[in-house]
């Protein structure tokens, strides 16, 4: 399974600010190796974050997102102690889900 994400979630003024660091090569498919052959594309295509069973963020990504991407967003509601889950899926079908507690 892919390397874990680092997730920080802080409750502030009725909203939760979530910061996520993902470990991923995010290969565009346009780079060429030493022999001149294109390195196959390998990038995160879907990201979703859920809280209390509700999807609070859903994103479709492409090759413009950089390696080891950082994502920050906020959503209304959410209290300290509750959990959020973040999942990404990439174009090869690899998947990673991590959970964090809201601070």
């Amino acid at each position: 399974m892919a390397d874990p994400m680092r997730i920080r979630a802080v409750a502030k003024d009725g909203a939760v600010i979530v910061k996520i660091l993902m470990s991923h090569e995010m290969e565009t498919g346009q780079r060429k190796d030493g022999a001149g052959k294109a390195i196959p594309a390998h990038f995160i295509q879907q990201v979703s974050a859920t809280w209390q069973g509700k999807v609070v963020l859903s994103a479709t990504w492409g090759t413009a997102i950089s390696k080891n991407p950082f994502l920050e967003f906020s959503f209304k509601g959410g209290q300290k102690g509750e959990k959020i889950q973040v999942t990404w899926t990439d174009n090869k079908g690899d998947k990673r889900t991590d959970e964090a507690t809201i601070n």
Partner: protein, 290 residues
């Protein structure tokens, strides 16, 4: 004549890129020993430097270096190698397994090895003695490339993170520690190689710059933090995690010196010289660079 100058400029610009990072990291030390001098330095910054600093502040909260800290923690605690042991008994100078504050007190003398060792040299030593890995294997490809990040790099990043927010306090108690400082200073000033450079050629005077990069004067107290802060650092270009061993290797390359030995005494001496000069400054943890 002009072609030699051009090569020098091209090589130095690469050196400058690395040094600019150090320049930005020192923007706001928590406890500056010479606040007046620091203020004067920041007032002389131009718009380009200000933009770099803004970028750096934004990125510090989101640094992928954290991913390598996490990886390093896993490597530290996992039983690995021919001896199937973890690194939890590794002594970084404060006792076996004591990590808090160890990074900012290295390089230091280790009696069990009879040598002054920087963090990476010591971690390699522990991987060899505790886990049974071979030093030659670790020295073969010691720096991060697209192919991957060597284990010692992640381990150094983990250990460095454990000294986040702490004052640099590299010891100079043992005679060998003082000797390492003296030798480091000599190496720093030693002109050699095809271009007759020394570290001091670029880093020996105030106000030096290459294109848009301000070069820290690493012989001065006020700029010394810029050699320590920011390392180990995640380099956005290429998405690679690098340690000071890599940085020193690259400096030698840019000066057209022969390649230094990985985790060698020479590098330990250089890091002692530059590190001790930064004693008293607060280390903010692993950095991030363009």
């Amino acid at each position: 004549m002009s072609s030699i100058k051009l090569r020098a400029v091209v090589a130095l610009s690469g050196l400058a890129l690395a040094c600019a990072v150090n320049a930005q990291q020192a923007a706001a030390p928590k406890k500056a020993p010479a606040p007046a001098a620091k203020k004067a330095a920041s007032e002389s910054k131009d718009a380009v430097t200000a933009e770099f600093e803004k970028f750096r502040e934004m990125m510090e909260d989101a640094s992928p270096a954290e991913l390598f800290e996490a990886k390093g923690e896993e490597l530290w605690k996992t039983r690995r190698g021919p001896k199937n042991a973890s690194l939890e008994q590794c002594d970084l100078g404060l006792g076996p397994g004591v990590l808090k504050g160890a990074y900012v007190q290295m390089p230091r003398y280790f009696a069990d090895a009879g040598q002054v060792m920087d963090v990476e040299r010591r971690i390699v030593h522990c991987m060899v003695t505790l886990q049974g890995f071979k030093a030659e294997d670790l020295a073969r490809q010691p720096f991060s490339t697209e192919a991957g990040t060597p284990d010692p790099v992640s381990l150094v990043t983990y250990v460095a993170g454990q000294s986040r927010g702490m004052k640099i306090a590299i010891p100079q108690k043992h005679a060998k520690e003082r000797e390492a400082y003296r030798l480091g200073r000599e190496i720093f000033n030693f002109r050699a190689g095809a271009w007759d450079f020394s570290c001091a050629s670029c880093h020996g005077e105030d106000g030096r710059r290459i294109r848009t990069q301000e070069l820290p004067n690493l012989t001065s107290r006020k700029d010394a933090i810029r050699a320590f802060q920011g390392w180990p650092g995640y380099r956005m270009t290429g998405g690679l995690m690098h340690t000071l061993q890599w940085r020193m290797n690259d400096c030698f390359r840019q000066q057209r010196f022969p390649e230094p030995g990985y985790a060698s005494e020479t590098i330990a001496d250089l890091l002692t010289y530059m590190g001790v000069n930064a004693n008293g400054y607060v280390y903010k943890g692993p950095g991030i660079k363009r």
